[in-house]
Symmetry: C2
DNA sequence: CTGAAAGCGCTAACAC
DNA sequence: GTGTTAGCGCTTTCAG
């Protein structure tokens, strides 16, 4: 790999002249500049960022940590971020946590060692203390999830309101026994989504039955599948179901198809997220849709702005905590229907009940 | 950010002692080691990779370039690669090209500047000369696609055989007019897939009608949609259809659903790739499935092995070009049916033909 | 307009 | 066992 010195030697110049010529310094004659640039090109010279950074050049790498890039939700996020950063001449360093705090720590440690300029994190439920310490020394933003020990800057979706909306939709259709299948309440998002569901039930005067709340691991298709089996085995099954994560939804959809459950007549379903193909699942999935792409793009832009602000005036806290919340939209398709269409019995359930 | 010198000063030691203690050098007393490690931890010291690399330490970053990470195919690849590399203490630098050679060049340039140890690339149809030059100086592997100017090492799928298989399936079901909707033949994969289709037709004694080959941009959902509309508007429409890319398939599926085409009775369809949800599209999509995850994992492992080999004995070409090809499997579902079931007319098409 | 030299943080060869 | 020193490739004073 050719260095600036190699270029200099080949032209009988000094390193400094070469460096200046390449950075288009005003003091270098136009002619020399051309010679240097040409020689550099011919030798395949590419500046050594390690050396630049050692000299204190601002890093052009931004770390991005997500739980699982093969999850469409996060893939979309990574795509949007990668685009914004590339447009602004930044490289993206990608890390997956699999929702494991040890992996998370390893990734963040890698970021710090690689001297990233900043980071965008979808944190695990409870990051390791060292992860927190390391991120403290790094401009960063939380995406989607929210952990109080990390940066106060967060871009997320309105989890509680969204699930309230989904639940209300079912209530308005006459459903009284509505189940929730989602992720762990240890996660800020898991908790908020369940709250949205539960609060909406309460405010409609309905009881929140523990047996109808299926809270599992952070993001698990298997949990979604298993939850459906458990729910359908109840003596008095639910007539409506809302889900609280993309993966849970996936599992629920698979299980319902496998069991041959009649949707929406036997069960009305509202999904979470709007992945490719959900519109053609069964009767079409009624689901919560989120502006993930825009959310991620905005988040990236905001971080970039923070970085340049830190550069300009060494003021890290340029105006307090920033938190942005995007609302979800309910996309109506065929998987939800009025309960009255089927059962006219005003009491809960359609069977005489075994208890 | 604390440096080794800071740690040294705080303990009244020299930088080298600190460096040695942290790298667990045999010559340092156990007691000193403990003191140093503790102090380093307390001060939040993280080694500066830029400085290490300047000293010639092998890089622990691997560049990965894909056309579009939001495409499930590539998301799976990125996931698999990220896992292998993380397991082996490597960081992943991610770049998207959007199938544009300028973006590709920018990304690769970034990799070189960031001193990546190696790269895995899904190249654009014709990378810029400079991209080629830069990659020449970098251990790298081509994934899926194949450009002759780049590394001879390639991990891919058997494009030609797979599409042959898909086409044969339709022929065996009695179809005689079979359309192909895929990506540009400028891409090695696009060309091979079309070849697989065309050769199979020929070997079955069927003509390859230009009007039935819809070749579009590298990876475009819109092209898939438009192609269906054009194909169905032909005076003598096809009764079978095979697709040659994930995105094309997506477009085809959307369009068929939108037009309300009766699959498989009016048209039998074989897709490319097996994305989440394709099993529940219409009657279930008969499609080509590829071991993408394993492919990517193997590819990553192979590159890692190359890297350590280069480290050990400065032999870059340790045993000629390596090329691995994984076969696809045809997953039979409901979107294909025997043509005989519907039309008994031995002639092409069912209409009297307008020409 | 160009050159010489210092130093970023780290490691490794060489003292002691 | 620990300290001293040089140098990786680059930028950036300071000289000329």
């Amino acid at each position: 790999m050719a260095t600036a010195k190699d270029v200099a030697d080949s032209l009988g110049l000094s390193v400094s002249t070469v460096g200046r010529a390449l950075s288009d310094d005003a003091r270098i004659s136009a002619e020399t500049k051309v010679r240097v640039v040409r020689a550099a090109e011919a030798m395949g010279y590419v500046v050594n960022r390690a050396a630049q950074m050692l000299r204190g050049a601002p890093s052009d790498i931004i770390g991005v940590v997500v739980p699982d890039i093969s999850n469409g939700f996060y893939a979309t996020i990574a795509h949007a971020l990668s685009r914004v950063f590339a447009r602004n001449q930044f490289q993206v360093m990608l890390g997956e946590t699999a929702d494991d705090r040890t992996s998370e720590l390893r990734q963040v440690r890698g970021f710090v060692a690689a001297q990233v300029a900043g980071a965008i994190v979808v944190p695990t439920a409870q990051p390791a203390p060292e992860t927190v310490r390391l991120l403290r020394g790094l401009p960063h933003v939380q995406l989607l999830r929210n952990v109080s020990t990390l940066s106060p800057h967060r871009f997320g979706i309105d989890d509680e309101q969204s699930l309230g909306q989904a639940t209300r939709h079912l209530i308005q259709l006459g459903h009284r026994r509505i189940a929730f299948v989602g992720g762990t309440p240890d996660l800020s998002t898991g908790a908020a989504r369940w709250r949205g569901y539960a609060e909406m039930l309460r405010s409609a005067g309905l009881a929140v039955e523990p047996a109808l709340s299926e809270l599992g691991p952070p993001s698990s298709v298997a949990h979604g599948r298993a939850a459906v089996d458990r729910l359908m085995a109840l003596p008095d099954p639910a007539t409506g179901l809302v889900t609280g994560s993309v993966q849970a939804t996936r599992g629920v959809l698979e299980a319902l198809l496998a069991r041959g459950t009649d949707v929406p007549d036997e069960l009305s379903v509202v999904g979470f997220g709007d992945e490719v193909g959900w519109s053609w699942w069964g009767p079409g999935l009624t689901t919560l849709s989120f502006p993930v792409q825009q959310l991620a793009t905005t988040c990236g832009l905001w971080l970039l702005d923070q970085l340049s602000a830190v550069d300009a005036a060494c003021t890290t806290a340029a105006g307090g905590a920033y938190s942005s919340t995007s609302p979800g939209t309910l996309v109506l398709r065929g998987s939800t229907a009025a309960r009255g269409d089927r059962v006219t019995d005003p009491q809960h359930g359609s069977r005489p009940a075994a208890d």
